[in-house]
Symmetry: C2
Subunit: 458 residues, 2 copies
Amino acid sequence: MTGKLKSTKTTKLSKAKQNVRAIFEPRSITLIGSSKIVEEVGMTSPKLFADVAYNLQTYFEGRVNIFDIETRSTLGKSDLTILALPPQKSLNWAGKAMNTGTKAIIQLTGGFDAAQRAKYFKLALKHHVRVLGPNTIMGIINTRVGLNTTFERNLMPPVGNISVISQSGGVGATLLDWASYYDIGVSKFVFMGDKVDIDDENVLEYLASDPKTRVIAMYIEGIKNGRKFVELSRKITARKPIVVLKGGITQESAQRALSHTASVAGSDEIFNAAFKDAGIIRVGDIEDLFTASVALASQPPMRGKNVCIVSNVGGPAILAADEVAKAELELAHLSEETKQKVQKAYPGIDLINPIDLIADARADRYRNVLKLVLEDSQVDGVMVINMLKSCFFEPEDAKVIPEVASRYDKPVVDVPVGGEDFIKVANVLKGTGMPTYNLPSKAALALRILYEYGRRQC
Amino acid sequence: MTGKLKSTKTTKLSKAKQNVRAIFEPRSITLIGSSKIVEEVGMTSPKLFADVAYNLQTYFEGRVNIFDIETRSTLGKSDLTILALPPQKSLNWAGKAMNTGTKAIIQLTGGFDAAQRAKYFKLALKHHVRVLGPNTIMGIINTRVGLNTTFERNLMPPVGNISVISQSGGVGATLLDWASYYDIGVSKFVFMGDKVDIDDENVLEYLASDPKTRVIAMYIEGIKNGRKFVELSRKITARKPIVVLKGGITQESAQRALSHTASVAGSDEIFNAAFKDAGIIRVGDIEDLFTASVALASQPPMRGKNVCIVSNVGGPAILAADEVAKAELELAHLSEETKQKVQKAYPGIDLINPIDLIADARADRYRNVLKLVLEDSQVDGVMVINMLKSCFFEPEDAKVIPEVASRYDKPVVDVPVGGEDFIKVANVLKGTGMPTYNLPSKAALALRILYEYGRRQC
């Protein structure tokens, strides 16, 4: 795309900003594809057409029109048009859709050359229609209205408050698989594609003003307009956290088949500085992206570094204390008042942090001690550990944790440490907004990030 | 225990070293407990007695004698005696068992004072009987003979080559839960308890000479005789890897409710130096302990730093390249010969590392390229990435990976990155000895550790 086009876009298309919304919240959709055309480059195929049609018809709560260009000719009007055709045919049908008054287009398929992309952009500009793609392949998901333009049948994450932007189809597919499998509540999912029109900033702006999005999680490989991205992000992160996984810290070296540590670290530090400047929280891998997002989506920020660990086992509590230190947080010093109250209620409990509730602790003991600890002004957040194996704790007992936590403006995370134990407790806590991790290391990371976001908000 | 007892032990009990084996490989077992006695301190209870009896009777392939002291009086002979009674009663019955010629005792229950522990040790010494515990609570597991002295019913990890030693009951229970849930092949599991007789060194010596143990994984909170531990470990690690998770890097500070980073780092560095000296591989958390052990148990060491990534998706391959760099490994430069061969077979594939096999790659393409890459002397190890979502790869295709890998003396690890994708492929690869990870970060850690162990062996 030329510099001239770029500058025109910035001034004129801002009028059409509201049409970005039609990508995510259309009332009516037309999917245009072909039951015959196969084109490997760009991924046009009857199968993709059928799979996307299946997902739209299965989940979308609004009106869906499946338009096969092999059998139909007259296009009706709808808010959102989804295109799954080769480049030239897509351009033709995009033009027709724009003439019928569509507000937005998701161009799933790819294979467009520079001239075709420029033509697409001109069309969009002329009609004030917003275009996501081309080559987004998977398009978008909006769980709340059942909008799913991906070709993965029945892959629908649960409704939640985390919105995900991915600059890579493959990583995006992994994130979607992860969220669906691990029951991570998602609001919107966006596969950016080639960005002929709608870019990261447009999507960020939409998600920033979207009341159903509490956390924005991004996978990015590069930033085109660094200053704009940082300025916009800085505004957003004052109100809503952005968590970023950056791929390609060694991308250059990978491409050159050269692993030159110095240059890698250098270029990566620029991103670190930019993220810091923008108030963006950076994480290290896919799992951390969700560990962080789940915590931010459900818990208040942590206002200080002082963590109290409440556990029914000794060893894992020691590991948890280690992880608190590794995350550069501190073990809270309980106030004398709290100590006395715990002592009075449970004379057998040692009054040091980590607090060992002992293996026979059930719901009542957790409820009472958790309450006392959260009332202590010297405690900024709590990591609860509740094992089942070798303990008396039952999965149902875990319900008291979100019950108590919801009454205080401090973060609480739960660690039913292990394999089967974790699954059993996580199932009980599903939908309660209590972040549940299978290892103290992940819970400590979650608290660390809640602390970082708390500092961002100061 | 006094210094005098300790020194006597070292000289005299070495004769009975072979009896340590009876703990793990008995042909006959007697479990002595009571259907009536409940004693909270030390955990004696009819329930524990019944649960342990259940596991012994359900799984053990040898002769099992359940001996309830409330209804029986004459004790028969067996290789291994398991005791689940309060201290004084345990001592009485331990004496009787020793008189009948038992070779070893697992003292599950605890609550012993110093005098009782000394008495137990004297008894053991006199009869040349080895005692594990007291207060081991869970005792041991030997998967190959179905020996499981824990009270967790039906918690039996699959048979494998990893042996686990835990100094903590709680962390040990978590490790057991983790191994069972994630299908990690285990040979022996040992809960050390109070170590009146058998100590870490005794168990290490046994596992070092145990042909069914390929990797020793330890959770430790402290080392009593540092020099002895380091010297013994150094000998063992020349032939067999030891992986350690050390709990309590902040234990002191935890106990004082003081998070003083300087002192923490100081004391922890002593352990780091000792582990390095001993050739022990140190890991950061429970998951890493198994990530490392699984790789070491099934793959050859990596003889150099050069990793080749073979993937069917671009984005996750970039993340994988990042993780290789973070693990301080290098992306291999493929030789010209390899490049030409790949080029000839698959003209569409870019000849850089990570190698992108493209989304339609199936078993054949993986087989052929993996073979070429493993034959390249500039490649020391391979990380395979095979996504299902948004790709043509089918779970069954993954079988070619261990098939090819087994023909070369270089490590290969597999990353069916994601949630559901991971589970599907991991199920296909179960029992093939191919380490399978859901994230590139874990696979990179695995390769890093295989590299570290390769250096240890030089």
